[in-house]
């Protein structure tokens, strides 16, 4: 058993895990019940599990909870707490991006992380590597490119 403390969506949290190798993804989902972050592949390819760790987009399926100690984690559930995140969500609605929606938490967090770090809309739209099996990519790009007030 180990206790790990980190900041989750702005709130200090301490979790008790029996294995510090447990990926952040499963701590979020199974232990904390934050199910907006999804399991897609488990090997850092598909991006469905993308969250921000210290402001950087990370695939939470391969980020052990031990590595997260002392860091700050942001998940889809807090995306609207930042005006840029809320703007991104509004653009997603406006362009009717999601189909099944399963990949969209990760897609949004990956896009948000890039934009937040100052990457341009065009570079963000063409640089995302998240998988979406419904094929929503055109609308993902259109939504990002439409963002008002973003370079």
């Amino acid at each position: 058993m180990a206790q790990i403390s980190f900041k989750l969506n702005g709130v200090a949290r301490t979790v008790t895990v029996d294995n510090i190798e447990t990926p952040l993804l499963w701590v979020l989902r199974d232990l904390l019940g934050l199910t907006g972050t999804k399991y897609g592949c488990g090997v850092e390819i598909c991006g469905a599990c993308t969250v921000l760790v210290n402001g950087q987009p990370e695939k939470s399926c391969d980020e052990s909870i031990g590595e997260v100690a002392g860091k700050s984690v942001m998940t889809i559930e807090a995306l609207n707490s930042d005006p840029l995140g809320a703007k991104l969500q509004a653009a997603w609605l406006q362009h009717q991006v999601p189909q099944c929606g399963f990949c969209q938490s990760g897609m949004l967090m990956a896009a948000y992380g890039r934009l937040k770090a100052g990457e341009s809309r065009a570079s963000t739209a063409s640089g995302l590597s998240n998988i979406c099996q419904c094929g929503t990519f055109q609308r993902v790009k259109e939504a990002i490119l439409s963002l008002p007030g973003v370079a």
């Binding site: 029996d18 447990t22 934050l34 897609g40 889809i76 559930e77 094929g135």
Partner: protein, 717 residues
Amino acid sequence: MRDTAQDDSLVLDRRSFIGGAAAAFLMPVSLGLTASPAAAATGVGAYIRIDADNTVTLITGQTEMGQGIGSGLAQIMAEELMLDWAQVRFEHAPVNPAVYGLPGWGLQLTGGSTSTMMWYTPLRTASAKAAWRLRAAAALTFGGTQAQWSLVVGGKLRHATYGEKTFASVLGKIASTSDPASVSFAGTKRIVGQGVRRLDLAGKVNGTAKFGTDVMLPGMVFASVVHCPTITGTVKSCPTSAAGALAVVNLGNAVGVVASNTWAAMRIANSLQSKVTWTLPADLSLLDSAALASKAQALQAAAKPANLQVFETAGTPGAGTGKLDAIYKTPFLAHACMEVLNATVQVTKTNGVVSKVELWLPTQGQSFIAATVRSVAGLANLTDAQIKVNSMLCGGGFGRKIEQDYVLQAVKLAVAVGKPVKLTWSRPQDFKNDKYRPYASMRVRMGGDANGITGLVYRNVSASITFQQGTNPEDTGAVAGAVKLPYAIPNRRIEFAPLPTAIPLGYWRSVGESYNTFAVESAIDELAMALGQDPIAYRLRMLTADARATKALQTLKNSPNYTAMPTMRRGVAFLRGFNSYVALALEIALDSASRIKVTKAHYVVDCGVVINPNAVEAQMQGGLVHGIYSALYNRVSFVNGVPQVQNFSNYRVLTPRDMPKVTVDILQGDPATAMPGGIGEAGVPCVAPALAAAWHRMSGTRVRELPFHPGATMSDD
């Protein structure tokens, strides 16, 4: 969408309900159903619920798995009830095939692009009846006659004397009204035909949407499974415990591991694979792609293969200056839904005997779940009322979630551990234990001249889904896309020879058309090229009997999006299927790794009555993506029964950077038919033949076997 479980408790005591006795009258007339006493007592059986706040909810048996069906069907309801779109909701229905099953099939399932086609008239009728009876209820509630009350946009009723009243305010009298003898439809196209925003988006951008995999129950434990490395192998013996596991359960076709979290369950399950003694399937040659391909080749050469089925019998290869004798091949494919297979099950016991099984899961096959539950030891006598199914949002389906394998495992696990269990397959297990799109070999022999094809002999040799299920003596699905072609070809012989295999097969988005359309449209394109004919003009010459087909292809030919594509990098294909018409042109180039990439695509779609043009466009965009990654990169090969696929690492799919610009022209369907066609699958079949056509023009080489780039991985850019 609302959370159904929460809603139920609120609803029964305080808000009005179109349900109960009224449910009978809201049933589609085409079903000829009457309400059962049980349905009347519980209110189950209604399609439309009106809440005290005047929101109106469609309760649908069709599964929302991304295609937008919940919203599309709700549009049909909203049109007839003159609702404001902001007051409309939808919910997944409980399992009751007699009420919620597809009107054409009587089965509660989602597949075959049938949902809108089959529900359009019954749901319009039910909604129009509801509108009529709300007016009658208004008369009973406030005065005047039924005819004096009219509907006003926004879920309201108006009377010259009594003014405007909400639907909610008259529901107390709805049970005292009766069904009209006939109904007329609103037909204003105020909501139907508009690209209104689908209703399930908010939760899909803020993480609150509940997919099957997101179900959490008090006291829940987490499980995963490991199957035999050789597909269809079974457990001979397995460990009864493992370090870190709460339980290890022999599930027959797999070993289940229950743990305190999903990651631990997956990890332990994976580590057990080598510790299990497996019983291997008897004949591995039936599970080997190379052996199957050889058998298919032999069946193509045989004069009369075993169990040959002939669908159109008049054919000879035909005379003419153009001749073609070619075999096209398409591989086994996986479904690869973003949401892996999962199911959550809670078993309740009364006096030591199971009295209830409740399931929460993503499913396209509600009709089959009760039988799955009853097949588990000790559960055979459960009644329908003792089996409760909560259909969650599906994170992709594509046909895979109609199957019952994962459902059966989850029920067995819940029985074994006596706690609520969420079973989640790992991605590798999901890939390696799919019900695969069948391998198909298609021989096309045809002759023709500049005016068209004079004769066609076609033989599909493929692993037959229905043969494997033992349910259907004639596999019409295996030749879908090859029979009833729209082209006026004077004589045709269409054959199907089943390829014996033990590889588990299933329905994969667009099913028979996903391979037959590749062969048929490729062959037509090859003949046109050989004869020096324009591929669209050549098809148009053979479309003498189908005005809608002609219009779709003519529209493509005239589109600036089409003419702007360079002819040497452009390919075309056409589909009449799913009661819709799809013409596709795409433009290709080579990527930095010298692989084909699609740079532009233009669809022309006639899907009859358009419910939501935005949804049609989305399905074409998605169908293109599905078609591209399947045709370019993927196959699932089996070596003596071991599937050679691991994860997305060696099952390459697309990402935003690969997305070409897609444009979609939606034609207004023939008003004479006035019925919607299917769109969920229709975008897929044309992609592979259009790619082959474009590549032939670009390279001089015709690709007749998919995929174009076998062995491509996600990381080799």
